[in-house]
C-alpha cells in the first residue's frame, strides 16, 4: 500500500523523486522487518526448529546416537503401553467431541426459552476459566470411591438403597452349635421343625452395641411370651450381655432384641409367611396351618452394604475423566452454538411455525441443517483439543490406574521425561500428535486463503 501511494506522488515530479521514493521504500521495508522480527525469531527458534528437530530425533534411538530409521514408529504400535494410549486417545476423539457438540446444541436451543439464559450460560462457561489441575482436584474429590466422601458415589448409593433397600446387620452371625444353620447363600434358619404353638429364640452375635438401630429394646419380656396354638412366635436377639455375665444361647435380662430383621416361615421349601421384627426383636406368624416349619432369616439381612461404583478403577477411569472434561467444555460448545443460533433467519422459523410444524420438527428440519457449519467448527475444535488432553488425565487417574487411563500426550510425557527416558520414542509420539492435527492445519490455511480472496 505504501508503494502505490508513493508511486502516485512520484508521478508529479518524475525525475527528482524517483530515487527518493526507492530510498523511502527501502526504509519502509527495514522498519517492517523490525516490526515482525521479534515474532519471527521466537517462532523460528522455539516452534519451527523444534518441529524439525523432533522429526529428525524420532529416527534415532533412545540415547540419540544411533540412526534406527522407522523403528520408533513401529515400536509405537508394538509397545502395549503406547498401544493403550492410542486406543484411549481414539476413545476420547470418538466420544468426547460428539457428546459435547450434542449437549451444547441441546442446551443452546433450550436455554433460549428461559429468562435467566445469561446466568445459565455464565455458570456453564465458567469452568473454562478453571485450570485442568483445579478441575482435576475437584473431580478426584467427586469421584472418591468411599460413598462417605465422594459425592457421586453418595448419590449412586442412596439411589440404589432407596430402590433395593439396605441390610441392617452386615456383620451379624450365629454362634456355632446354637441351633441356627448357616445357609450357603448367607441366610440363617432353624434346624428342627417348628410347629404352630412353638416359640423360638434366634440368638446372633457380631453386632457392636453402638451399631444397634436406635430404639432397640431388651428381648427378655418378649422371649417369655408363649404362642397361641395357630401361631409361631419368637424373638431375634443379640446373644451378648454388655459387661459380660450372660449365658450363651439364652435370652438374658439385659440382652437386646434385633429390630427390623426380616423373618420368614418356610414350609417344604416355600416361604409361606414373612414379617419384620419389632423393636424388642419379637415377631409372630399368626394363622399358620399345622405342620413343620422352618424359621429363616434371609440373607438380605446380612448383605454387605452397597459401596457404589469404582469410578477411578481400571474400567471406568477413562469415561470418568471424559465426564470431567464435559464439565469444562460444555459451556464452550453451548455458547459457540448459541452464537450461531442467534444468526439464524427468524422468518424461516416463524414460517415453519405458521405452517404448524412442532418444535421437534423445527429443530430437526431447520435448526440443525442451518447450524451445520457452526456445529462442524465446534466439533473440529474439540477434536483438536481432545487429541492433546494431558493435565486432566495426569491429575485425575490415581497412580496405579495411570497406565489404564494413559493417552498420547501423557504417554509422550512418560516416555520422554517420566522415567521412560526414551527420547527417540518420545519424539516419535510428539510427531504422531503433530501428524494428527495436520488436517486441521490444512483446514485453517485453506480457510484463511479463501477468506483473503
Amino acid at each position: 500500500m505504501t508503494a502505490t501511494t508513493l508511486a502516485k506522488e512520484a508521478g508529479s515530479a518524475p525525475v527528482a523523486s524517483a530515487g527518493r521514493a526507492r530510498r523511502t521504500r527501502r526504509r519502509g521495508r527495514i522498519i517492517a522487518v523490525l516490526f515482525v522480527l521479534p515474532a519471527l525469531l521466537l517462532l523460528g527458534a522455539l516452534v519451527v526448529y523444534p518441529v524439525v528437530f523432533s522429526v529428525g530425533r524420532s529416527f534415532f534411538d533412545a540415547s540419540g546416537t544411533r540412526f534406527v530409521g522407522g523403528d520408533n514408529y513401529t515400536e509405537m504400535f508394538r509397545d502395549p503401553a503406547t498401544l493403550k494410549a492410542i486406543r484411549n486417545t481414539t476413545i476420547w476423539v470418538v466420544v468426547a467431541p460428539a457428546l459435547l457438540t450434542g449437549l451444547g446444541l441441546i442446551l443452546a436451543v433450550l436455554v433460549e426459552k428461559v429468562r435467566w439464559a445469561t446466568a445459565f450460560k455464565l455458570l456453564l462457561f465458567m469452568p473454562m476459566a478453571v485450570s485442568f489441575l483445579a478441575a482435576g482436584i475437584i473431580f478426584r474429590l467427586a469421584y472418591d470411591e468411599d460413598p462417605d466422601k465422594g459425592v457421586l458415589n453418595a448419590a449412586v448409593v442412596s439411589v440404589h438403597d432407596a430402590f433395593a433397600g439396605t441390610s441392617s446387620y452386615p456383620t451379624a452371625r450365629a454362634r456355632e452349635g446354637q441351633g441356627l444353620i448357616h445357609g450357603a447363600d448367607g441366610s440363617y434358619r432353624t434346624g428342627t421343625g417348628v410347629s404352630p404353638g412353638d416359640s423360638v429364640t434366634l440368638g446372633l452375635v457380631g453386632v457392636l452395641p453402638k451399631d444397634l438401630p436406635a430404639g432397640a429394646g431388651p428381648a427378655y419380656a418378649a422371649a417369655g411370651r408363649s404362642a397361641a396354638p395357630d401361631e409361631v412366635r419368637g424373638v431375634v436377639y443379640l446373644d451378648f450381655t454388655p459387661g459380660g455375665g450372660g449365658r450363651q444361647g439364652e435370652v438374658d435380662r439385659r440382652e437386646s432384641g434385633l429390630p427390623e430383621m426380616k423373618v420368614e416361615a418356610v414350609r417344604d421349601g416355600r416361604t409361606v409367611a414373612s414379617t419384620t421384627t419389632a423393636s424388642d426383636g419379637s415377631f409372630r406368624f399368626p394363622g399358620l396351618a399345622s405342620g413343620a416349619y422352618t424359621v429363616e432369616l434371609p440373607e438380605s439381612n446380612f448383605a454387605p452394604p452397597y459401596q457404589g461404583v469404582s469410578w477411578l478403577g481400571r474400567t471406568l477411569v477413562t469415561p470418568a475423566i471424559i465426564g470431567a472434561y464435559l464439565w469444562i467444555w460444555t459451556g464452550f460448545a453451548m455458547v459457540l452454538i448459541g452464537a450461531g443460533l442467534s444468526t439464524l433467519p427468524r422468518d424461516a422459523l416463524e414460517a415453519a411455525r405458521m405452517d404448524g410444524a412442532n418444535e421437534w420438527q423445527i429443530f430437526r428440519r431447520i435448526t440443525v441443517p442451518l447450524l451445520a457449519p457452526v456445529l462442524t467448527v465446534v466439533f473440529v475444535t474439540l477434536v483438536i483439543n481432545v487429541m492433546k488432553v494431558f493435565d486432566l488425565v495426569y491429575i485425575i487417574a490415581p497412580g496405579p490406574v495411570q497406565e489404564d487411563a494413559t493417552v498420547l500426550a501423557t504417554q509422550m510425557w512418560l516416555v520422554s521425561f517420566g522415567g521412560g527416558n526414551n527420547q527417540g520414542l518420545g519424539s516419535a509420539l510428539g510427531v504422531l500428535l503433530l501428524l494428527l492435527v495436520i488436517p486441521a492445519m490444512v483446514f485453517n490455511v485453506r480457510r484463511f486463503r479463501r477468506s483473503q480472496r
Binding site: A32, F35, Y49, L123, L133, I138, D391
Partner: protein, 279 residues
C-alpha cells in the same frame, strides 16, 4: 390449550436446566466446602455433611496456607510467569500483526501462512528440543525460560488474531496519518494500538488465563524455586486424601483468580476463548 401445553413444556425445560445447573455447581461447591473443613472431618464424611454441621467450616486451612512458604512462593511464581508472558505476547504480536496487515516486506504472504499453519502445533512437540536448547543457554529451570516458551507458543494465535483485526481498519485512516508525516512507530503507538484495544484486551485476557492455568510447560521447564502453583499442587497430589486440607484450598486459590477475571471481563473473555478456539 396450546398455551397450557407450552407452559408445561417451558416448566419442564426450566426444571431440566435447573438440574443441569446444579450438576455444574456441585463439584465446585464440593471443593469450596472441602477447603473449609479440617482433614479429620473430611476423613469422617463427605463435604455435604458440613451443611448440617456448619461448625466444621472455618478459614483455618486458608490461614495455614498463607503461612505455607511453598504455596506462597509458587503463587508469586505464577504471577511472575503469567504477567510478563501476557505483556510480551501482546506487544510482540501487535507489532507483527500490524506489519503483516499494513507494511510491505519480503515473503509477507508465505510467512503469514506459516503463522496460520503453526496455530495448531501441539506444545508437546517443542518440549524436548527446547529443553535441550534452554539447557545450553542456562534458561532451563528459570522463570524467563518458562515465559519464553509460553510467548513462543502463544504467538501464532496472537499474531493471527491481531493481524485480522488490524486488517479491518479503514485504509484511509492510515493513509491520512502517513500524509501527516507520522513515522510507522508513531502511527503504531498513536493510532493502531488505541483502535485495536478490544482485540488487545481479549487477547490479553485469554493469554493470561492460558498461562495462569498451565501445568504441562511449567512441569518441565520450571524447577522447585520457579514452579507455579499448578506444579506445586500437582507435586502433592500423590498423597491425595491425607493432605486435602492443603490441596482443596490451594486449588481454590489457583482458580479464584481466573474466575474473578472471567466475571470481571466476561465479554472479552468469551470473545478471546471463541477466537482462540482455532488453536
Amino acid at each position: 390449550m396450546n398455551a397450557v401445553r407450552r407452559g408445561l413444556g417451558n416448566g419442564l425445560v426450566q426444571a431440566f436446566l435447573v438440574v443441569i445447573g446444579l450438576i455444574w455447581l456441585t463439584p465446585l461447591a464440593g471443593l469450596f466446602l472441602s477447603s473449609l473443613r479440617s482433614a479429620e472431618d473430611t476423613a469422617k464424611g463427605g463435604w455435604w455433611t458440613a451443611l448440617a454441621a456448619p461448625g466444621q467450616l472455618s478459614f483455618d486451612n486458608y490461614s495455614a496456607l498463607l503461612k505455607n512458604a511453598g504455596i506462597i512462593q509458587s503463587f508469586w511464581n505464577t504471577v511472575l510467569i503469567s504477567v510478563p508472558t501476557t505483556v510480551l505476547v501482546v506487544a510482540v504480536a501487535a507489532l507483527a500483526g500490524y506489519a503483516f496487515a499494513w507494511l510491505d516486506f519480503p515473503a509477507r504472504e508465505p510467512l503469514f501462512l506459516l503463522v496460520v499453519a503453526l496455530l495448531v502445533v501441539p506444545v508437546q512437540i517443542g518440549l524436548l528440543p527446547v529443553a535441550k536448547l534452554f539447557g545450553q543457554l542456562g534458561l532451563f529451570g528459570t522463570i524467563p525460560g518458562v515465559v519464553l516458551f509460553h510467548v513462543a507458543y502463544g504467538l501464532p494465535f496472537a499474531v493471527f488474531l491481531l493481524r485480522n483485526y488490524f486488517a479491518e481498519m479503514p485504509k484511509e485512516m492510515l493513509e491520512a496519518a502517513r500524509m501527516d508525516g507520522g513515522s510507522e512507530w508513531r502511527i503504531f503507538i498513536r493510532l493502531v494500538l488505541p483502535v485495536g484495544r478490544p482485540a488487545l484486551a481479549s487477547l490479553a485476557i485469554f493469554q493470561f488465563l492460558w498461562v495462569w492455568n498451565d501445568m504441562l510447560v511449567a512441569l518441565l521447564f520450571a524447577d522447585s524455586s520457579s514452579q507455579p502453583l499448578t506444579v506445586e499442587l500437582q507435586s502433592q497430589i500423590r498423597q491425595f486424601g491425607s493432605n486435602i486440607d492443603v490441596l482443596a484450598p490451594g486449588a481454590f486459590l489457583s482458580l479464584i483468580v481466573p474466575v474473578v477475571v472471567f466475571f470481571a471481563f466476561q465479554r472479552h473473555f468469551v470473545q478471546g476463548v471463541m477466537a482462540g478456539s482455532v488453536k
